[in-house]
Symmetry: C2
Subunit: 254 residues, 2 copies
DNA sequence: TCTTATCGGTTTGTCCGACAAAGCTAGATT
DNA sequence: AATCTAGCTTTGTCGGACAAACCGATAAGA
């Protein structure tokens, strides 16, 4: 293939991109640690020898990527990318690719089952306490679809957290962000929907506490199957996650 | 909680952010479709009534998010976010969070098994042809760890594609990007490693063609277990994905 | 003494104007 | 008709500017 590697590929990139890349590299390889300051725009201007507008464009790129942020006093600092923010980007991509609810459901089933398995194996007392707190609050709002939907989403986030697997936590988030907003509609549309949901959560938590993987998986599956049955009452699984439908759910981001 | 909702929360956002949000909204809800032009910077300046520098900062934000891009002549147009690019952001996040190989492995196992299940169910002739082509090329470079590692990564991408589940495709990508670069080390370090890898791929493809889910899952598990055994010969699974180690793999992005 | 008000000095967000390089358009040339 | 060329447009970058917000420290008041 390669005949004579005489010349290196010449790197032609706009200045703002090079600024972004340079800062990114320092953060990725750990020379700038999360929380540490990057410097003022003026300093970056001096260091890179480019105009402030150029620096600012580079900064926007990194800021959007979640690698840097501005602290309370608007000074630049490196930071750990928030899963949540990145997941929002992914959810957006899924919307635009018009994925179907079937795809969402199938993947969520896989990931939630993996979550519960991890949680059963490795949940700490703190994790369990958090889940129990969530369950208690859920039981209190069982008649309120909106409130319950929100707590349901939280329950699953806590379950993923309890799995102690951060890769899994990250992987499930994008699908979850699109999957769970429908819960409100479903809980509201099915009589006893709220009660069934809380019941399932209770069994799942119980399984986690008893370290009973089989039961945990079983109830997680039932829980999701409930969602599916509810969803199929109002729409086809092969319907795509629509722009207009998802707009409000998506707009809830900050 | 909420006493008197007398005042709306006043949204104080910098102008460039509002510019980005406005354009993003038009794309998300489908009023601007992928491929359609956004307009020149000058036009945006006129429409939003802000300075070009401000518009450009907003544009950078969207560009980084993969929502817009510049075509061959550098004009702005909406586009579908590429999974690949987004996955790179996520991989970066995983590196910074210093996730362990155990977490990567566990999650990849879940997702690859889900992939093969989907592929067994729904792979098209085209998918199978692609996988067969990959297998053929793999067999030809069985002695070349670097080449084989690359083809291995491709095989798994193709398998996810064959599952016809785009959510799954997206969900597996970040972990895969970190997981598979190690393959080269492992294949190179284990005698017969390359042969075993190709053998596993062959069985997996065979299972997909025969629509034999059990066999597909079995060989996928074996395949990943092989990776795990190989990895444990050189390092602990509890070792985190390190900055310096991952730097070169990560640098391979464009 | 402790709190509050004030006052420069910085830094950010935004604006204005400008220019070279590259791409596109359309008229001029062969 | 095909090609070349000149002009217009657009982007990437630059320099400078200014109001608002923020920081730190000092001065004034309880």
């Amino acid at each position: 293939m390669a005949a004579t590697p005489l010349f290196r590929r010449i790197d032609i990139a706009p200045a703002y991109q090079k600024v972004a890349d340079a800062i990114e590299r320092e953060i990725i390889n750990g020379r700038i640690k999360p929380g540490e300051p990057i410097g003022t725009e003026q300093q970056l201007v001096a260091q890179f020898g480019v105009n402030r507008s150029t620096v600012r464009e580079g900064i926007r790129v990194l800021e959007e990527g979640g690698l840097i942020r501005r602290d309370s006093s608007r000074r630049l600092q490196a930071c750990l990318p928030r899963y949540n923010k990145l997941a929002t980007r992914l959810s957006r991509a899924l919307i635009l690719h018009e994925v179907t609810f079937r795809e969402l459901f199938e993947t969520s089933m896989t990931l939630e089952v993996a979550s519960v398995e991890g949680a059963v194996e490795r949940a700490t007392d703190d994790n369990i306490a958090e889940l129990a707190g969530n369950l208690e609050r859920s039981a209190a709002v069982v008649g309120d679809p909106a409130g319950l939907a929100e707590l349901d989403a939280e329950f699953h986030v806590l379950m993923a957290k309890a799995s102690q697997n951060r890769v899994l936590q990250l992987a499930r988030e994008p699908a979850a962000q699109l999957f769970f907003p429908t819960t409100e509609m479903i809980v509201g549309g099915v009589p006893e929907g709220g009660a069934r949901l809380v019941e399932a959560h209770r069994h799942i938590l119980d399984a986690i506490m008893r370290r009973d993987k089989e039961a945990g998986v079983l109830w997680t599956r039932r829980h999701l199957q409930d969602w599916r049955r509810g969803f199929e009452k109002i729409a086809s699984l092969d319907r795509s996650v629509e722009h207009t439908y998802m707009e409000h759910a998506y707009a809830a981001r900050q």
